[in-house]
């Protein structure tokens, strides 16, 4: 097995710029790891070996002749298979799109490439990023789900087959797989990353996100990806902060609000005990942590999210589903059917509740750097027929606020645990700085046993 000596994306980018590391070598190492590991992990849906190597060679020349193209110059990345990639198959995990090759790339993919990233290929996802599982397996235990819908991305980053992945979250699609696989996963505010050229699940919920091995790395990627895109109708025009600068510049211990209610009601004993230990550790490192109450009944928020996602998903698939229902997996088929019978009044009530929840959440977060919860009720469940429980991640997607998973340890069976930090709308700089502080205080660096 190829040894993995390279640090994370931020440090590797520095080494590439200084000429100590070669983009070609990096791509070859990643491709060798994919070759050796992916029969077991099934993290990648499509690999474009030739283009990735050609891009690496071009970037090597470009660096010598004119300097780096951007902050991700020479960094190998993966792209979730719902993002369009020009000339590369984009199937969204669906039979219906198995031969689809887009003529253009999604705006977010173009941003990555414009910053010098090398797209190795497409990472596997659940069917149309909904509930029918991808073939991917958890690198910590192949009999356990890696989570979903960004299943392959989490497995790919955890197994060190790439440095960063570009993902999406509609319910818990970034944070849950990130937690199950022991990597950092960030879902920024709704509208922060362009979704132009992304196969939708539910328009008012779909949010671009990223995974990487460290908070510093996701901050670097967000700096490249964030920003207004006139081609995405929900893209925000708010200015983009210097996320990497915010992470590096932070020194004061954060003020955190611990949410026990709802989360501890649904979490397993080991997760509750672990989260309490994390809280004590962060406190002893200087964090100010007080328990706060959820600003809304989160069971109700969950119900409202379901009404919105089912209805919008049914609307998106209406035409195709009518023509070819047999080409849909059983879980997506059911989701669409439930959307078709959801009354319009319930959808509107859910959206009204959503506005109230967002406002109340903003009030709860006032004076706090972030809220803290366990990211998932349990570690990755065994079996590959489902992708785990999304209820801990849904409230933040519904409110549109940023949330991040920070790996925090392993459970007794050796599976990753994570804490979820939730920030105020468009305060990604503050959230990332807080997450960076917590990451350093916890001192957890997880590497799955795939090389043994």
């Amino acid at each position: 097995m190829t040894e993995w000596f390279y640090p994370g994306a931020a440090e590797t980018a520095v080494q590439i710029r200084s000429g100590r590391l070669s983009p070609v070598d990096l791509v070859e190492v990643c491709q060798r790891r994919i070759e050796v590991l992916d029969d077991r992990l099934r993290a990648w849906a499509t690999i474009d070996r030739r283009t990735a190597l050609a891009t690496a060679r071009a970037l090597e020349r470009e660096l010598e002749e004119g300097g780096p193209r951007g902050p991700l110059h020479g960094i190998p990345v993966g792209v979730k298979d719902v993002y369009y990639t020009a000339g590369v198959k984009t199937s969204a995990g669906s039979k219906l799109m198995e031969d689809f090759v887009p003529e253009y790339s999604a705006a977010a993919v173009r941003r990555l490439e414009g910053a010098g990233a090398i797209v190795l290929g497409k990472t596997a996802c659940t069917e149309f990023a909904a509930n029918d599982p991808a073939p991917s397996r958890n690198p910590w235990n192949l009999d356990h789900t890696p989570g979903g819908s960004s299943s392959g991305s989490a497995a790919a980053v955890a197994a060190r087959t790439c440095f960063v992945t570009l993902d999406t979250q509609t319910a818990g699609d970034v944070l849950r797989p990130a937690a199950y696989c022991g990597v950092v996963g960030l879902k920024p505010s709704y509208g922060r990353i362009s979704r132009h050229g992304v196969v939708p699940v539910a328009w008012s919920l779909d949010t671009g996100g990223v995974m990487a091995r460290s908070v510093e790395d996701v901050a670097l990627a967000l700096g490249v990806l964030a920003g207004h895109d006139p081609e995405d109708q929900s893209s925000s025009t708010r200015p983009v902060s210097d996320y990497s600068g915010a992470v590096r510049g932070w020194s004061d211990p954060p003020t955190l609000g611990l949410l026990r209610r709802y989360f501890y009601d649904h979490a397993g004993e080991e997760v509750r005990e672990h989260t309490d230990r994390v809280v004590e550790l962060l406190r002893s490192a200087g964090a100010r942590i007080e328990e706060v109450e959820p600003p809304e009944d989160l069971g109700l928020v969950y119900a409202a999210h379901r009404a919105v996602v089912f209805s919008e998903c049914a609307a998106y698939h209406q035409e195709t589903f009518r023509q070819r229902p047999e080409n849909y997996g059983p879980k997506l088929r059911q989701l669409i059917e439930l959307g078709q019978v959801t009354p319009a009044v319930s959808y509107i009530q859910a959206q009204r509740l959503r506005r109230r929840f967002g406002r109340r959440l903003g009030e709860t977060l006032r004076g706090m750097d972030a809220l803290l919860t366990p990211t998932t009720p349990t570690t990755a469940p065994s079996g590959l027929s489902a992708t785990g429980d999304r209820r801990f991640q849904i409230p933040w997607t519904f409110a549109g606020v940023p949330a991040i998973n920070v790996p925090s340890g392993l459970d007794r069976s050796g599976l990753p645990l994570g804490i979820q930090l939730v920030g105020a709308l468009f305060a990604e700089d503050r959230l990332l700085a807080t997450a960076y502080w917590c990451e350093k205080a916890l001192g957890v660096d997880l590497h799955p046993p795939v090389d043994e």
């Binding site: 328009w203 708010r238 119900a303 059917e337 439930l338 959801t342 959206q351 109230r356």
Partner: protein, 60 residues
């Protein structure tokens, strides 16, 4: 269906499912329809301020 009970909501969803997908398919969906009815009932019970408008997920 403001003021409807969980059972009435379930019946309404089941009837609509039968008309859209047929009896056989609705049988298979029954437990999910009951779960949906429970969630919709929860939403129906929620008192929202008259001035609370639906969220528009666009943050300029």
């Amino acid at each position: 269906m403001v003021g409807a009970t969980k059972e009435e909501l379930t019946d309404a969803l089941v009837q609509q499912a039968i008309s859209l997908f047929g009896k056989e398919r609705t049988e298979l969906l029954l437990s999910s329809l009951e779960e949906r009815a429970e969630q919709l009932w929860l939403l129906d019970q929620t008192l929202l301020d008259k001035e609370e408008e639906p969220a528009v997920m666009y943050f300029p």
